[in-house]
């Protein structure tokens, strides 16, 4: 191919010389011949390159000298003008060929770049992440090999330490090479081994490294590829996270539905038992009456137990739906008291809840349960007949509600644990009924309001349980109960 071009270059020069030799000598002068040759050399250098142009120049100088420059028929130069023509040929040949060479190289480069961009684009289009980050990387590595026509590619995924390879020729790069490449800062291309390695980073965070073997694209393209893989991995990870979050949400929904059906399933047989036993109780004689009362009470206890288990599960699942509204502390206390009428029998209860207190922002239904729990606790852990005080006041911008008993109090080391699930004080471990979840549920309710629950106690004097609620500020405080 090259030899053909050299021959052709010489042939062009020979053809020009031949034309001028055939033409009658009076029609031509040496300047015309030399200019024609110059044009031919320019053409050769532009189309074929420097080497061909040099050969053409030498042929032209020799031919021109031999056939046209006096003494015609020899290769000697008498006139320094001829020397000038010879140098002009050479300079033209060199300059033109260099210029055209550069242009040609630019075109080739542009073409190569266009091709790489096209391939990158194909890569981007192929990389719609789906599935896990790992699967996405594997697909990506395969795709790079396929699109860029490399012999092989390898990827080191740092978060899991995994190395994924593609193509039969990917062995030449060792695991160690890849791990080292992840730590350096830039692309490194080793033309001898036909190996390009580059770290893969996203926002400075190392994700791993990538190696391409054989048929290397340009450095910029390697950089583009690793950027692309970083973005693709990140996208795949984000998608993965999102689907995890969705799965978690669905499992929460499931949990909540499960709790509801549990509530239903436990309470349905209890409903039959309770209805049947209370129906029998109405007309039962003495001894039977006692036994039926036991069934009835135990059915109530089971019901209470089921309710507490479900409440606790809801709190732990973060499934407490609060419907907050401004509510007066006095109403909360009154509501709880009305439900505690039976256990409070024979107790002297003092309520100190000034009317002028600002309202609290709370879900009254749940908060009443907290007050009720405090009251039941006071009843269970203080001597029969001892008085109970209930207070509501403003402290540090919060509404603080408290229930104070005159019981034995709580030892200091037990105070922090009374709100734990199933915790029982040392002295009461075997004596008091209940599930041991009441105060834990109360704590869950108060904390769902973003507030605090605590106990103060003086052993021998009694205990005081408190919780805080946010106070409603401004005029909406009063009369916000109903419209």
């Amino acid at each position: 191919m090259r030899a053909l071009r050299f021959t052709a270059a010489v042939a062009v020069v020979a053809a020009i010389l031949e034309i001028y030799r055939i033409l009658p000598p009076e029609k031509i002068n040496n300047t015309t011949v030399s200019l024609s040759l110059l044009l031919a050399i320019l053409g050769v250098s532009a189309w074929w390159g420097l080497a061909e142009a040099m050969v053409a120049s030498v042929a032209a100088v020799l031919g021109f000298n031999y056939f046209f420059l006096p003494p015609v028929g020899t290769l000697t130069i008498q006139d320094p003008q001829n020397l000038v023509a010879f140098i002009a040929f050479l300079v033209t040949a060199v300059t033109a060929s260099q210029l055209s060479e550069r242009a040609r190289r630019r075109t080739a480069e542009a073409e190569a770049r266009r091709l790489e961009i096209e391939r990158l684009y194909a890569l981007v289009q192929a990389m719609m992440p789906g599935g896990s980050a790992r699967k996405t990387i594997r697909e990506f590595v395969n795709k790079v090999v396929q699109v860029f026509g490399c012999d092989g590619a390898a990827f080191y995924y740092r978060p899991t330490g995994e190395i994924l390879r593609s193509g039969p020729e990917s062995r030449p790069v060792s695991d160690h090479d890849l791990q080292a490449a992840a730590e350096i800062d830039d692309v490194s291309i080793d033309p001898g081994r036909l190996l390009a390695t580059a770290p893969v980073r996203l926002g400075g965070r190392p994700l791993g490294s990538m190696a391409l073997i054989g048929g290397l694209p340009s450095e910029q393209t390697v950089r583009a590829i690793v950027n692309l893989v970083a973005i693709t991995i990140e996208k795949a990870r984000a998608l993965e996270d999102a689907s995890h979050a969705e799965a978690a949400r669905q499992s929460e929904v499931l949990k909540s539905a499960l709790l509801d059906s549990l509530a239903h399933d436990i309470k349905t047989p209890l409903t039959s038992i309770k209805a049947a036993v209370t129906s029998l109780l109405g007309s039962a004689p003495g001894t039977e009456r006692e036994l039926l009362t036991i069934i009835n009470e135990e059915a109530d206890r089971l019901n209470q137990l089921a309710a507490e288990v479900i409440a606790m599960a809801r709190i732990e699942a973060g499934k407490l739906h609060l419907e907050k509204r401004p509510v007066a502390a006095a109403d909360l206390i009154a509501g709880a008291l009305s439900e505690c009428a039976a256990p409070l029998k024979g107790r002297q209860v003092t309520v100190k809840a000034p009317k002028e207190l600002p309202s609290a922002e709370a879900d009254p239904e749940f908060v009443e349960q907290v007050v009720k729990q405090f009251i039941e606790n006071a009843v269970n852990y203080s001597p029969e007949g001892s008085p109970i005080d209930i207070t509501a006041e403003v402290k540090g911008g919060k509404i603080v509600i408290g229930v104070v008993d005159r019981g034995p109090g709580i030892a200091e080391h037990e105070r922090s644990r009374v709100f734990d699930k199933f915790f029982r004080g040392q002295q009461h471990r075997f004596s008091t009924k209940g599930t041991g979840m009441g105060l834990a549920i109360a704590k869950g309710i108060v904390e769902a309001h973003g507030e605090r629950i605590w106990v103060e106690s003086e052993p021998g004097q009694g205990s005081a349980f408190y919780f805080s609620l946010p106070a409603v500020t401004g005029r909406e405080a009063a009369g916000g109960r109903e419209s």
């Binding site: 209890l270 039959s272 209805a275 049947a276 209370t278």
Partner: protein, 230 residues
Amino acid sequence: MSAGKILVVDDDPQIRRVMKATLVGHNYEVIEARTGEDALESIPREMPSLVLLDMNMPGMGGLETCRAIRGGSDMPVIILSVRNSEKDKVAALDAGADDYVTKPFSIEELLARIRAALRRAPSAAEGGPRSFASGELEIDFDARRVRAGGKDVRLTPKEFDLLRYLVAHAGKPVTHRELLQAVWGPDYGDEPEYLRVFINQLRKKIEANPARPKYILTEPWVGYRFAGGE
């Protein structure tokens, strides 16, 4: 003679069994339905005097069934449910139920609720007015007819009793407890949410602008007051 015919709607056969045994023992006639759909089918045929309706049933469910019953009749409906949140109670009353009983319940409580629901205050026995007319609102207590804004309005029995009690005490604040006991019965008094729902429904039916009521006014912290004839 039976004290009334009660339709028990519950998907749990044991509950239907207990209810039937107990209610028959208390002189009621009992018919059963397993689902809301079955209930709606048997109501026109059997014309029960009261419906005990489970809230959580497969198929159309208690609330929807209740709304469907209300679409065609004003017989008392008591919803039975294992849920005891205020939201569920309000949803049931909003669907047109007269009362709401949380499972499990004692039979005495249920019987009291049934008696209350079946009880109708005799027309003029309380010495209240026989009729009322002011502006856009006309009430004929004997014929149980209400016209508001020039149109006939249909009230459920409980809504009607509530309105009658308020009109009979026009101009005076009536406490929540007093209203509850007068309309629902002596076992009631701690269900202010019942009043919230029923008063809202009444206002929607008789007030030109329910958000700014002209007749049924709220007495904050106390109860309600009927403002008639200005």
